[in-house]
């Protein structure tokens, strides 16, 4: 297909915003994995809790309160989950971690279905985020009619801000220094007398909180139904693995890669449906530790 500049721009924007929702989910997943070494299959369910909370608060009290309340609530849920369940599994095999969190995901999904029904709950976008952006206003080299939904562009901005904040936290604070050291060698830190345990708790809470942010902004895009969590789980996992387990930069890179791949293959549906798996297989076979994975981590 002959691609015009406009069509190309549209595909780029689509790839970016697809990547944004992936990155918001994969970020927490890879953070938890990299730091705690826990494969959290319930991460999609955390996102599910976030979108149901967000849509409930949004429809009752407005978007502002959803934005203020949901991420901290998710943080608390994350902390409780880590204390109550996850910490029992630090020394257990990955298989057990996968299985217990998978069971948890089913339980959360079914509880939410019980409470809210299986059907979609409409998540209305706040008026300031509604409507479309005329891309010509921002990208003057485009000629004619190129538009994109404003909300999806906001999502891209939110993803960029969130990623930057997490990077800043890890690279510019003492807390981040300890965490990064923990990602390299948790045992060593224990020897040095650092209480890594409490920090693990905070990291898990942080991962859940990012899912909370994802839920507030992603809910109107992914929609609100009990299936959403499981549907996002597999692609997010593949992205984490493509990027390299535990590598934040890798997760960002892989999210954009997958987003772009899906966007540009959209007219070729046979390839479009398998592209994410194809990329996973090729990358893992050529570069076993993923795009930016550290050597020797969980190989």
């Amino acid at each position: 297909m002959d691609m015009t500049l406009n069509a190309f721009t549209l595909s780029i924007l689509t790839g970016l915003q697809l990547g944004s929702i992936y990155v918001l989910i994969a970020l927490g997943l890879t953070l938890i994995f990299g730091t705690l070494g826990v494969v959290n299959f319930a991460h999609g369910a955390l996102y599910l809790i976030a979108i149901y909370l967000a849509v409930s608060i949004n429809n009752a009290l407005g978007f502002g309160l959803a934005l203020i309340l949901v991420p901290p609530i998710l943080f608390i849920i994350g902390v409780l989950l880590e204390r109550g369940l996850i910490q029992r599994f630090y020394d257990r095999p990955h298989t057990d971690q996968i299985l217990v969190t998978f069971g948890l995901a089913i339980v959360i999904q079914e509880l939410l279905k019980w409470a809210f029904g299986a059907n979609n709950i409409p998540f209305s976008i706040p008026s300031w985020g509604n409507g479309i952006i005329f891309m010509h206003d921002y990208l003057p080299f485009l000629e004619g009619f190129v538009v994109y939904p404003k909300w999806r562009m906001i999502l891209v901005v939110v993803a960029i801000v969130t990623v930057s904040a997490v990077f800043a936290l890890l690279h510019l604070t003492r807390f981040g220094l300890v965490i990064r050291a923990g990602m390299r060698d948790a045992e060593m830190l224990q020897f040095l007398g650092v209480n890594i345990n409490r920090r693990f708790m905070v990291v898990f809470g942080l991962g859940a909180m990012i899912a909370g942010i994802a839920g507030v902004f992603g809910g109107p895009v992914t929609q609100v139904s009990p299936e959403v969590g499981m549907q996002l789980l597999v692609p997010s996992f593949l992205i984490v693995v493509i990027g390299g387990m535990g590598s934040l930069g890798g997760a960002v890179l892989a999210s954009i890669l997958i987003g772009m791949a899906q966007s540009f293959t959209a007219p070729y549906i046979y390839i479009n449906t398998i592209i994410i798996y194809l990329i996973t297989v090729i990358i893992l076979l050529v570069r076993p530790r993923g795009l930016l994975g550290a050597k020797g981590v969980f190989e």
């Binding site: 057990d96 299985l99 998978f102 948890l104 089913i106 019980w114 996992f237 449906t273 076979l285 190989e299």
Partner: protein, 324 residues
Amino acid sequence: MTTQNNFWQHNRTVLIFALIALTMPFWFPLMGGYSGLDTKIMIFCIFVVGFDILLGFTGYLSFGHAAFFGISAYVTGIMLKSFSDNIIPAILVAVLAATVVAVIIGLLTLKRTGIYFSILTLAFAEMFDSMAMSMLQKWTGGENGLTGMPTPMLFNLKMQGDTVFYFVTLMAILLFYLAKRIERSPVGLMMKAIKCNQTRLEFTGINARKYKLLAFVISAVYAAIAGALMVVYEPFVGHEFLGWHQSGEIVIMSVIGGVGTLVGPMLGAGFMLYFENVLSVNLGEQWLLVLGAIFMAVVIFMPGGFMEGIARLKKRYFTTVDGE
């Protein structure tokens, strides 16, 4: 006398299994089971026993074994539909096809370990699932599934009802016996050594890859036989056979039963199918919630699954018998 004793000792589990399985039609209905479900349980027993040769022996967790199950089922279905209604050529071709795929995937994926291996197998299986749903729809029937096969025949014998049950059960007994033989054989010991410490094994000059691949392919063959038998049991193939939920279900069965015990996964398979199809009716809409909770509880409190539970009970009530 001693040889007889040996035979009994070696094959006690197999014989007990055979006894329980073959009498199933008589006792299963008493607990709410029904014809058809017993056959399905036997088919999944085959699937999980094979899976345990990979997961239980070598420790490799595959999230994509549904691929072999599904590919074999599709090939069986297409063979029955367009070649002959005799199940023997259909099963042979199907298992062969799945084996070829397994060798290729095994060679590619077994270079990786741990979570990377799991994700790779998952990606392959999901790729097949997506293909069955889109580009291969003409042959697979897509979302509608593959239907319209003739009644499967074993030469002149119609494969319906009881005939299928006993055919499947005999296969299950045979395959369980073979798995037991593998477990005791030097090859089985090698596989188990991989689980303990692969690096050390390789230092001793043993080619661990060969044994890993062998375990992978054997388990895929079991999955393929199970997949083919699903079509013999019921002439229908759904794309769900290939999906990651199917792979996940096999993992769940294995874990709640007790990985590495061969018997445990079969218990797990029986429990899961019984729960999904019999108890679910009493629990109504919330059955999946209850199942999820049970599943979590088992993983948290009984990491060794039902087999650990049984061992604990034994220990509590029969310790003196063992002469401790």
